[in-house]
Assembly symmetry: C2
Homo-oligomer: 814 residues x 2
């Protein structure tokens, strides 16, 4: 392992780059932050210890994590020094988000806390409030939370610090993102993958990421893997990941201060040199960015031993090192000694405010990490310059005809968006951008790549804005970091494998929900997913690639942050995508196929349909504004096609059957308006779905989701849903529909079985439909493809007497 020789840059007599005064000032800042951290965890009174510590000063429930906190505070103090010395713009990402007391303390010391929460003033009264509120009902969470100034990263789940850091650094050439990675966190897969982000970071146009791997040796109950491998093995690992690691190690604060200061200086010099070389004319080599390994005791400066057990430097300091300080005099004495060891009387003046030496350490204004605008991305956010998506529209002469790859059309729009926003927009995909037919974006940019390139590589370049790595976690983390720092993005993913990031989207949705309630947090751009290569068209991958359940997953999140769209064709996809790119503070999930498919709506109709989110397709309906015999509803491209094919069969056989076709683009319209802001009122819902007629609903995903969304509706008892019921294999597109009973024949049978006047006359037709299912199955098993009439099927109209004369968006008569 390489260490930077602290003495090499030393002031005379100090053994390092820090002169005595500066060392003293940094140490005082660290003591102050640590004091305030312990105070938050333990105290609800007597914050400045101006009287002996009594039972009632201690919180009844002690909830927090001490172990990682002194490390976070140490790095914070040293970053403050270099920010001031170099006028740096630094964003601090704290992987061990459990250490919430640390950045809260720092923000209070820097004054930011009192600026955004004036009731927590920078004085004794404010300190009392600061302590009491921590991890307290009605107060603030114990983690680095959205409530914490200076943070874009909750960290409670672990694994995403480094990908968030890269996301923040992209397109921020002046920014240094210092990312502390806990050694527990480093065991997670997402973190392990994220080290490779250095193959995607362009030193010319992107900022720098400075990882600080904090080896404090222990997790909740075990040592960490990276702390228990030989130093040369860890060095090899990090070099193998492409970094130049520098080690800072020790438990003597004075020595560690000098070593960390020297190492930080060295790393920042290296970063500056890398950027200068790249920006003055690249030498073409992927730079080996520096990083720091900080090996320091867990729970450093805490009690060494309590009740005969080692605490400092052990997993026992992970949370609250001892828990009975309220009830046990001995424990309370340990606490008081611990707090007094920081010498608070030297750190805070008579008003309880930090003394000038501490206040002077940190930089001013938005250079304070706790006040970084990058950590409140909404303040930096500028709307995308959006070209007119109508320019990408496909002509639709007759509804239900054509063969268009919807996502390919979307690709041309994304290309135009990219062209207009070459510093603030990126697309992300786990190696599927082309597979998902979004290749047009490569007409105006490249795939980001700073690793080795060969002459026949296709659109690989440093500075590319198409972010592809075969890791959904990394793509998601990059995008989150990019959005949280005030930019825009678009994530395309195979539908089944977006489940890989289920837990990450949980955390992001929680972040959005919480920030909605924090006045000083400004709205950020939405997290936009395109889920394609979807369940119905996994012709060559089969069962393992079939899962439409991400929709179910996201609709468990708060209604105010979740939107789900199922555009049935290319023009509706364009309209939806435009809407999503303009939106703020949502998780938008768009599900759309990439295979050639029928088109239904011209662009103006598409916009109108998408604006409503749900509507009757009059051109396919035969209810003529009357109460229909049956409502055939559909959501998703394949279900829409099968529904229309069923309608065509039924209307051919039963010309006077009054069928109403309802297409759903915005799934949240199905919920009631009390449950979701997009929800239809009961009156509106009833006017579409009737109060008593059978509804046969063909849905893209698991069918019970429709029941979940509609169970309160008047007509719910008559809603019959077909969807994916977890039946699949490698087979033809239509066979997939048959396996799950969502094909045109089964849908038509469902109607015959549910419309009273067809039950009597339809027995023969039902048999014919069943025969067609059987014939299909025989055919595909012989020929390996669907029957030609299925493959080539297009809507040919169904001119029965009941045909509505309305336009494609004919509204119901309420």
């Amino acid at each position: 392992m390489v260490t930077v020789d602290a003495g090499a840059a030393q002031d005379a007599g100090t053994g390092g780059p820090l002169g005595p005064a500066e060392l003293e000032r940094i140490h005082a800042w660290w003591r102050a932050a640590n004091y305030l951290s312990v105070g938050q965890i333990y105290l609800m009174g007597n914050p400045l210890l101006r009287e002996p510590l009594r039972s009632e000063h201690v919180k009844p429930r002690l909830l927090g994590h001490w172990g990682t906190t002194p490390g976070l505070n140490l790095v914070y103090a040293h970053l403050n020094r270099v920010i001031a010395a170099r006028d740096l713009d630094v964003l601090y990402v704290m992987g061990p988000g459990h250490g919430g007391p640390g950045p809260v303390a720092a923000a209070w010391l820097e004054g930011t806390y009192s600026e955004v929460y004036p009731e927590v003033s920078r004085d004794a009264a404010g300190m009392a409030r600061l302590f009491t509120q921590f991890s307290f009902p009605g107060g603030i969470p114990s983690h680095v939370a959205p409530e914490t100034p200076g943070s874009v990263h909750e960290g409670g789940e672990l694994g995403y610090a480094l990908s968030h850091a890269f996301g923040a650094a992209f397109d921020n050439p002046g920014l240094v993102v210092a990312a502390v990675i806990g050694d527990g966190e480093a065991e997670t897969g997402p973190l392990a993958a994220a080290w490779h982000g250095n193959k995607f970071l362009d030193p010319r146009q992107d900022g720098a990421v400075l990882p600080i791997l904090h080896l404090n040796g222990y997790k909740i109950a075990n040592p960490t893997v990276l702390a228990r491998i030989p130093a040369d093995e860890l060095d090899a690992l990090l070099r193998g990941y492409g970094w130049a690691p520098y080690v800072v190690e020790g438990s003597d604060p004075a020595l560690v201060h000098q070593s960390l200061a020297a190492t930080l200086d060295h790393c920042l010099d290296e970063i500056a040199a890398i950027q200068r070389r790249a920006r003055e004319g690249d030498d073409g080599e992927r730079p080996r960015w520096p990083m720091i390994v900080l090996r320091s005791p867990k729970g450093w400066t805490g009690p060494v031993e309590v009740d005969g057990h080692r605490v400092e430097g052990s997993w026992r300091s992970h949370q609250v090192p001892f828990s009975n300080a309220r009830g046990d005099d001995g424990h309370r004495r340990v606490l008081e000694e611990w707090l007094r060891s920081y010498r608070p009387e030297e750190l805070f003046d008579s008003d309880g405010a930090p003394v000038p030496a501490i206040r002077d350490l940190h930089p001013a204004g938005s250079r304070r990490m706790s006040a970084s605008p990058h950590a409140n991305g909404g303040v930096l956010l500028r709307p995308l310059r959006l070209p007119d998506f109508r320019d990408s529209a496909v002509p639709v002469t007759e509804p239900g005809t054509g063969a268009v790859e919807a996502t390919r059309v979307l690709g041309t729009f994304l290309r135009d968006v990219m062209r207009e926003n070459m510093q603030t927009f990126r697309v992300f995909s786990p190696d599927e951008n082309d597979s998902n037919r979004l290749g047009a974006v490569l007409e105006v940019t490249d795939r980001a790549w700073t690793a080795q390139r060969y002459p026949d590589d296709d659109h690989l370049a440093p500075g590319g804005r198409v972010m592809e790595i075969l890791s959904e976690h990394t793509c998601q983390g990059w995008l989150e970091g990019y959005l949280l720092t005030g930019r825009h993005g678009f994530f395309s993913c195979y539908e089944a494998f977006v489940h890989v990031v289920d837990s990450m989207v949980n955390q992001h949705a929680k972040w959005l929900k919480t920030t909605n309630g924090i006045p000083w947090r400004r709205p950020i751009a939405s997290l936009n997913y395109l889920l394609t290569s979807h369940v119905w068209r996994q012709d060559h991958n089969g069962f393992s690639h079939q899962d439409p359940g991400f929709i179910d997953h996201v609709v468990n999140k708060k209604a105010e942050v979740v939107r789900v769209y199922l555009p049935p064709d290319a023009n509706t996809l364009l309209s939806v995508a435009d809407h999503c790119l303009r939106s703020r503070q949502y998780v938008n999930v768009i599900v759309a196929g990439k295979q050639p498919a029928l088109q239904y709506l011209g662009i103006d109709d598409a916009v109108e349909h998408c604006t409503k989110g749900i509507g009757i397709w009059g051109w396919a309906s035969s209810d003529g504004g009357r109460e229909p015999d049956v409502v055939m509803a559909c959501a998703g491209d394949v279900p829409t096609m099968e529904t229309l094919a069923a309608v065509q069969i039924l209307r051919g056989w039963f010309p006077d059957l009054a069928v109403r076709v309802v297409n759903v683009v915005d799934l949240m319209r199905l919920q009631d308006d009390r449950s979701h802001p997009h929800g239809l009122s009961d009156r509106e819902f009833d006017s579409l779905f009737t109060v008593d007629r059978p509804v046969v609903f063909a849905f893209h995903g698991y069918p019970w989701l429709i029941h979940r969304l509609t169970y309160r509706r008047t007509n719910h008892r008559n809603v019959h849903v077909r969807g994916y019921v977890e039946e699949g294999t490698t087979t033809t597109p239509f066979d997939m529909c048959v396996l799950n009973g969502i094909d045109r024949y089964d849908l038509a049978i469902d109607v015959i079985d549910r419309v009273p006047r067809l039950q009597a006359v339809g027995a023969h037709h039902r048999d014919r439909l069943r025969d067609q299912v059987i014939e299909h199955r025989r055919y595909v098993r012989t020929h390996g493809e669907d029957l030609p009439e299925i493959r080539d099927w297009q809507w040919s109209g169904a001119a029965g007497p009941g045909t509505s004369g309305g336009g494609p968006l004919h509204e119901p008569e309420a």
Copy 2:
């Protein structure tokens, strides 16, 4: 990078360890496997090319992945050589599961395929069928699927090959698990984390894992990261992960054969030496296990160029290298030349069977990798020796009293299970085994750990059977590998973060569902989850740690493979756990708290209750067998307590109110018996929940899941559900209930609002309940803890005139 000098072990004149005949035989085997692979992707006739290739011989839809297949086949051929030479027991895990044609071809060559699928005989007719069925409707999937003999690993999702391999190797001292890892897969987080498995593998009692990182350079559309970093960087990375990597590189088959053979020999010698040293008396050093980096062209031996584009050695060979072999004569000529390049006439005899030279290469019987019993773990599975869980039971004198940590009680049972099954049972947890109160297992075993140890470490040892790494992915992968190879396990996880493995459990559930339909696949032990540290008791972690949605996720899977249990106390948890450990082919999800909580049922009552899965608690009910005024249902420990507290309030105020308390342990009982094998019939459901009385249901998870499960029931319109509605922060346990409206006061209000005769008289009481909510909120915000009467609440009976005299499991009168 280290390469093994092929010449060092060479036969005279051959440039390597393989003599001319052996080289020829291996090469022939590889050609045969490649020929059969290409045939599967393209052909539906003329399998032996005994006539010129015509259009109708080519499948109409070409679906498969060629690129990775020749690499899988090459490794297969060479493993066969060493198996035969050394009488090895080898399990082959193929990370690039897309290369399905490869192992199918191998199994057919080895005869296994025809043994398990007699209709696919090892002759020309069988070969025709082998080709046609591949990726064909009614045939087999395109991936290495459950249908593929010799596989425990689908691989379609990517990321889990290495953790599966470790899982297979644990407690299999005689087994070598050869795991091919694609370089695309290597970019995923789960794979990146899994390399560290070598810190948990005990060379004495576990088998060996031999990773083979296959650098073929490309993914679907991009180069791979690991193929585009300098060789020394890759070497450092793998050494940093703790391995000794050996490189085999080239595109000349003869040279690669020699190099791979020499390297395999070297690695197997090293493995044997490591195991011998360890088993003869450990030197205490963590061994540096060998691994192989195989750098070979993607789509090797395929067409070099098609239509002017490079194919072999490029991403263009990822799937089907050219697609119009049926319609385009030129493409078909390329295909025919490609197939003939393998000289099939030398490989297959006049019957179409493999010639003896090929048949002789592979080992016999269960040494064939395609016939490995480890790949069909059910054949090796022995039931656990299960001690009587009743021995761990806690006494319950009065229902609704006591303060027991349910999972701690479970820990004693798991300890006893462990003690009796020290070779076939392990527990897995992401550093939470102790936190989840399962620490008792450490009384009989240790935590597995072969990295550095310090004297004051707690129960870390090589050979430990508690598997802890801070990676849910790795824990899940290890456990899946362990189960799939015929052993038993138990995974405890924080409820919120089990979402990290959502996608993995999808794949495992799909595997189970598919294997249920494959006669030669024998049932394996269930995948048992204990979800604890659950949503209601995240006192110190708050919102980021609150998500009960994993239940929603799993119930989307096939009913026949999913079970969900919510035992309300320690004895029911014991009974459920015992049941799950005995079960086969399920994903069992158990949700139970770890905090001190009330106990309700003595062990006999608990067993009876769990056997039914749902039941009326007569001791808490006051309906006396009559039709109740209200049904109060509950599922989960905290909802059960709040329900009972509400019942006590209501019965105190309204002594003649007929309340029926229904507790649900087995969530699937709520579904109807057509949807789930555990489902209640409508008659049974109606007898519990009535057909017209209000039901107030307090549920552990998101409330709409109960609606989803019950929407078909007669009385669904009267079912009112309270659950987690995504409101949370760091606060007290009871405040969490209040935030989500599932607390006793809100439940009691719900009853007053819904029981007609209470609506009139209850206005005053409703106000009192609202006041209590307000008082609570004021108290916790001042004192930081719940009101004493909440903290100390226990069921005190409620002896009103309506009290049922029945026992705790009083049955309804139907």
